[in-house]
């Protein structure tokens, strides 16, 4: 790796953390002009920055507004890099189906989880909010998803998460997919109780957990 590439990767990462979209776009263009490896630009530049932003969020240095700004900036950079991406390097991505369970329209946590999953290398199918349990199951079957992410902010709707898990069992695909649950009222004990595979208190930790659990899923398969 040349010194210039290293510098650009470092700068890309910094400009995402610093929420500077113009600078990020400029850097991404410069990166492409130099014909550096685009996949690395995403993984070790933009996504690296987003990962740092996620850690700052965990450390309570950044909050939701900052995290959302960083993600916008990351996407601005992605818009520049993506068209130059070699198709082969994007193939064989694990797929994740995410959504807010039926009865709830609070989707901020789900949106963050989606961003973080994409950052860690998943292809994400977002079903949006207020999603009926059966839709998760059908979509996961259709795309061959490795992960289903269920989110809710409300106690009144969290039981729909258990419904999704029951439906997966009924369809005999429960063991093919990692089910992660999250949101305000959800806890590890609730996740255990309904038989979900994982829970994390916030989005970037949840995405890391998804990555680990998928590895194990593939191992045991």
């Amino acid at each position: 790796m040349t010194i210039l590439q290293k510098e650009l990767l470092h700068e890309l990462s910094n400009s995402v953390v610093e929420m500077d979209d113009e600078r990020t776009t400029e850097l991404a263009e410069q990166y492409v002009e130099n014909k550096f490896d685009v996949y690395e630009g995403i993984a070790n530049g933009l996504a690296h920055g987003m990962d740092r932003a996620g850690k700052l969020y965990e450390e309570e240095e950044y909050y939701i507004p900052e995290l959302l700004m960083c993600s916008d900036v990351m996407y601005a950079g992605l818009d520049v890099l993506k068209p130059h991406l070699d198709y082969a390097s994007t193939a064989n991505k694990h797929k994740a189906v995410v959504g807010v369970v039926e009865g709830d329209t609070h989707d901020i946590g789900k949106n963050l989880f989606k961003i973080m999953l994409e950052t860690t290398g998943f292809e994400v199918i977002d079903l949006g909010r207020d999603v009926p349990p059966i839709d998760f199951v059908n979509k996961a079957k259709e795309v061959g998803a490795s992960v289903i992410g269920l989110s809710t902010l409300m106690t009144t709707t969290m039981d729909n998460m258990a419904v999704v898990i029951e439906l997966l069992k009924k369809e005999n695909i429960r063991d093919d997919v990692v089910v992660l649950v999250g949101g305000g009222p959800i806890s590890q004990s609730y996740a255990d109780k309904i038989g979900a595979d994982g829970y994390a208190p916030e989005a970037s930790a949840a995405a890391r957990l998804a990555k680990e659990l998928v590895k194990e899923l593939k191992k045991s398969a």
Binding site: M19, E60, Y62, Y63, I64, P65, E66, L68, M69, D72, E102, G103, D104, T105, H106, D107, I108, N111, D130, L153, M154, T155, T156, T157, D159, G184, P185, S187, Y190
Partner: protein
Amino acid sequence: MFTTKQRLRETLKGNKVDRPPCICPGGMMNMIIEDIMDITSSDWPEAHMNAKLMVNLTKGLYENGGFENFGVPFCMTIEAEAMGAPVFLGTKNTEPRVTDYPMNSIDEWKKLKNIDVTEGRAKVVLDAIQLLKNEDVPVIANLTGPISLATSLIEPTIYYKALRKKPKEVHEFMEFITKNLIAFGKAQLKAGADVLAISDPSGTGEILGPKMFKEFAIPYLNKIVDELNDFAKSGTIIHICGRLKGIYKELNDLHSDAISFDSITSIKQVIEHVDNKVIMGNVSTFALEKNTPTSVIESAKNCIRQGVNILSPACGIGTKTSLENIQQMVLAAKESFQS
């Protein structure tokens, strides 16, 4: 001997009473359960549009040994709907919710309607309060908090980003929202409500961080309380969701009589850091819905032991919660003065 209303009023004023009242305000802090719908033959979603059914439900809960207050409405969509957001009224078990946002960018607030309290579900709420008005049981008026209302009118991610990108426009939008909330709150209190409760689940310290909480949440919450203080004869309550850890200091700046909070926040820590508020909380709604009556009593007693002045659920309760569990929670408060 206190009446139910006197006990809550004196508690909110910071005076000594015989025991903590046990309340659930309504609004986002839902109190209505299926058991009560069945007992009173008044169901959701119809009750959200019908003052008589609304009254049956909140009165029915009180009369069957439930929380020691009346309170309407049972959702946080009245204001957003009156200002132009389409709302799905939900089912027997799920609450009404906004289905689309009337604004695409912050400056579009100028297109919004003002809340007209003489029509629609805003009027239903006022009619219900008039029917509920009485001498003995406190009636709680409920408002959706300013940031929660804002994020019911525009996609929350656009809103949260605008806090950084367009702070000036956001403040204009918040002024407009606050003016409308004051109008609806005043109408509820004039119709006969005794207490004002404001719940702001989207405007938490956990989401915004202390700096933005101070800039975008506190001033507007305070503006509402300041304007309505004289009308809320028995007092004012603000409920903030999520962990309060990062904003203990800021909570002292709120002008409400009471602060109510989530079960993930420790009562002891709030008492330690917030010295000018009546403390209300925080029986886990999860425990209320899923646990046995015996364990609910334990949770309630634990809250009282830790020092809450008002015993209440930590958030809105699920409709599948049993009446028995609520009754036991109220009993725990009633019996607490003996111990």
